[in-house]
Symmetry: none
Subunit: 79 residues, 4 copies
Amino acid sequence: MSDVIQADKLRLLIERIERLEEEKKGIADDVKDVYGEAKGQGYDVKTMRKVVALRKLDKHVRDEADAMMDIYRTALGLT
Amino acid sequence: MSDVIQADKLRLLIERIERLEEEKKGIADDVKDVYGEAKGQGYDVKTMRKVVALRKLDKHVRDEADAMMDIYRTALGLT
Amino acid sequence: MSDVIQADKLRLLIERIERLEEEKKGIADDVKDVYGEAKGQGYDVKTMRKVVALRKLDKHVRDEADAMMDIYRTALGLT
Amino acid sequence: MSDVIQADKLRLLIERIERLEEEKKGIADDVKDVYGEAKGQGYDVKTMRKVVALRKLDKHVRDEADAMMDIYRTALGLT
DNA sequence: ACAGAAATAAAAATGC
DNA sequence: GCATTTTTATTTCTGT
């Protein structure tokens, strides 16, 4: 394949990445807006962030426990 | 307003944030996928990341320059 | 202060860091040895790593919960 | 050997690992402290990190060269 | 030995 | 402006 077409493929990949990164940034801004809204309604943002982090951590713990179960099952030949 | 409704509002805000965070994570995963695809096609991911970072920096520099131009224009009454 | 003495201070700081990094590497090697020893005694290393990770996660969750309590206390003016 | 004693051995291994991991974390924190101290004395931490990385690389290169020399020496019966 | 996953280290962004 | 948190990058580890 010619270098020109190769370069085009690379450019397309990079543009896809850049578009996704922009979307990601947009959503990050939305998150910030929601926190700002919450603050405007009198909620304590620091506490809210902690709540969100703690809920994520809980989910993570549950997922890990499930993974652990799978490992034990495999180790015991219970698949 | 009653505390119950207040708590509901808080819960809704937190759920909105969590949904946005999940979307964000989904997009971050998409980005990873595109890099993986690029790697599969023989591109060097580390270099690609540098390219993306450089282009972002360039864009930032250009945006700064544009903002500066606007300030001058306004200061000189050239809008 | 003269540049020479300044350079000496910098060198001392860097040497301290390098010594600490070496210690750290030594301990990381010790960890590897213990896993190797366990493997030699017939234990499944992958499962052991999961156990260690899960216990660390549990500790983290407890620490987070404590931090959460502090935040609530502060938010409610109960310090 | 009974399962009870086996479980004890496993527990001991895991506790040894956890103790080592804690030591490792302690040292990592010490490293952070030294960088903090350096910063407080006006040094540029980012640059210092680069210096440390470079010196590590140099050491690695020298060690490799030494190993190569040993190989040649042995091959030539010059031990 | 190498691909993929996980851990660690470094850099960047954010809030106070 | 500093310090803390998040994100990104690199290194390390494991299974094929």
